[in-house]
Symmetry: C2
Subunit: 413 residues, 2 copies
Amino acid sequence: MAVNSPVPVAAALLPVAGIELGFAQAGIRKADRKDLLVMKLTPGARVAGVVTSNRFCAAPVQVCKAHLASAAVLADAPIRALVVNTGNANAGTGVTGLVAANETCSALAQLLGCEASQVLPFSTGVILEPLPVERLIAGLPAAIANLSADNWYSAAEAIMTTDTQPKAASRQVQVGEHTITLTGISKGAGMIMPNMATMLGYIAMDANVTQPVLEHLVRQAADSSFNCISIDGDTSTNDCFILIATGVTGTQISSIDSTEYAELAAAVISLAQELAQMIVRDGEGATKFMTVTVEQGRSVEECRQIAYSIANSPLVKTAFFASDPNLGRLLMAIGKAGVDDLDVAQVDLYLDEVLVVRQGGRNPAYQESDGQRVMKQSEILTRVLLNRGNATATVWTCDLSHEYVTINADYRS
Amino acid sequence: MAVNSPVPVAAALLPVAGIELGFAQAGIRKADRKDLLVMKLTPGARVAGVVTSNRFCAAPVQVCKAHLASAAVLADAPIRALVVNTGNANAGTGVTGLVAANETCSALAQLLGCEASQVLPFSTGVILEPLPVERLIAGLPAAIANLSADNWYSAAEAIMTTDTQPKAASRQVQVGEHTITLTGISKGAGMIMPNMATMLGYIAMDANVTQPVLEHLVRQAADSSFNCISIDGDTSTNDCFILIATGVTGTQISSIDSTEYAELAAAVISLAQELAQMIVRDGEGATKFMTVTVEQGRSVEECRQIAYSIANSPLVKTAFFASDPNLGRLLMAIGKAGVDDLDVAQVDLYLDEVLVVRQGGRNPAYQESDGQRVMKQSEILTRVLLNRGNATATVWTCDLSHEYVTINADYRS
């Protein structure tokens, strides 16, 4: 059960003009489940993405990067389709894996009448096992046969692995004189850490945006959404966040200094944050949703370091799981974050509105019963004030439960 | 149950001339358990230590650092005693905590007839709660009353927290023409990460060593023992490794280039490694003991980065707990370690003698049954070969089990 995150309603997911989605049961790893997704784009669409920082970057991610780069340069060969499989990550698979990813692109390109370089491949699942590429390719015609602009809910289901529920959301926003529609899906529940290391996330919108602006926007959105979450501090080999502007609606946005850009960016960031938080709320074994904010730092970097040190600490996470206000563990995590010149005597710490630590020591007015009350909630804000600057960073995370161990000890069985 | 780590036999722990140990039940947190340890040193003894890198350095650690520094400078006021309490870490306790640590030193100094600055205080237990210093001080006379050179086993018991068994070992070694005796104790089972961030460890020896040489030796020993272990990646506010040379036996060792230094250092490092590994084997919830070695790196630093990335990955640790050769997670952990220029196509990976990954991809000859066989063992060696240099690093760690969550969710109850 995801923490305070209801299953999205299919009817509330808005079609985005210029993109169609099709799915299939290709039997990549298990029978009788949707495990293949095709997204077909209108010819004028533009695509930008950010991908994992893991050096063991999976074969499809390597191909994806290459195809994105060539599409950005060659105006006459834009990205026309995306293909996602679950059940196998095609990572740690060497040259064979690259061949399989390229074959996937070629097969889909042939079916759609475009070049292989106009297809972006994505895989998620078990690492270090050969991708059953024949089964994947055999599933493509079925996915193409049911292409539809209304398939967002099924698309969200088709990319799930250990997710307990599909993740999807929509927005409509006024940009200049036009109404822009945005719909996104995401997946991921473990191996979640920042630096685009996260999960699969796709947002499509019918806005008309130049390639450089789209590339700026995808980074900006990632940095304030998918790059702000952590479930276990692990970083996947496969994960990508892709932003698609189908270009069907509105005037072209060609500058990041325009009002239109600001309006669109706000909607993209808001949607990306919602999709990213859905991942945390559905974190493997999660029973609580925690927001960690570090304020008044000298730099965003040091605020992020401390926020992640808290968010990734197994001792902090198990204390939250137990609803135990063992808050000294928060100080431990602040202190070990690697901010060498941190003056801990300046640090204040709040749990929701409860002032727990003042100037580095226990607040004399702090009552354990107040801490206990907040810890029992399913949503908890941890606020750290460094009192030495104006920078802020926020990270979203979940607790560490028995269920996390169970899921990850049994994942392949 | 610690992994392949029998409870030490009291009779096998050798007295070290020049140090006596006394213990008491002070009722710091719980009744009816040894929670107070006093170590009394002969006047000629020298002491050196390394302490936690956590910025929320606990009050006793701050006092300990100051007293070590002044004793090192003032030849006429050497360290005469150490005092350790469990049940309360006296960390995150602000000025009150510093006062309590100083009061502890003063009280013991008065009982022993020395200055407060000649006493080193240590605390371990819950963070952010006031130290019940009156109870601690009230327990000191009982600890002094049973001071004895034969109390090493009880001393090891007196410093336990979530440890399931006491940790202690002895060595005798020939240094030049003299037989030197070394005995050490350690504690710690969670919040274990490197950079002297680890636990409490004390080694006493009857060797005669100058202060600068002792300080070099304590760092050298820490870097190849206590700084090579990880249970959960968390770093305590309180932890210290202390090396005591009582000076009773043998010729003075005044140079790190001497044969005598090499002989003594080998014994100290070997004992420190045994004590450090005991901590990992008794890691909270541990069912397996894992050695992670990264070889053929460009620098020790990058080898350590990768070794720790593996050792601290919750996904790797849960796979080991499950005896599941889901070895792609090892690649994930190598790739996310932050070695930006790592060429993963050069990486080989062995599980014990089984070659799993060759040149970054699955070894064609690898059989899952071979991986399965190794994963079922209680001791597993993971060897990563980077094939780009001559540096090596080793980290010892344990798996992540249900029991870890249980222990840390219930620690204070």
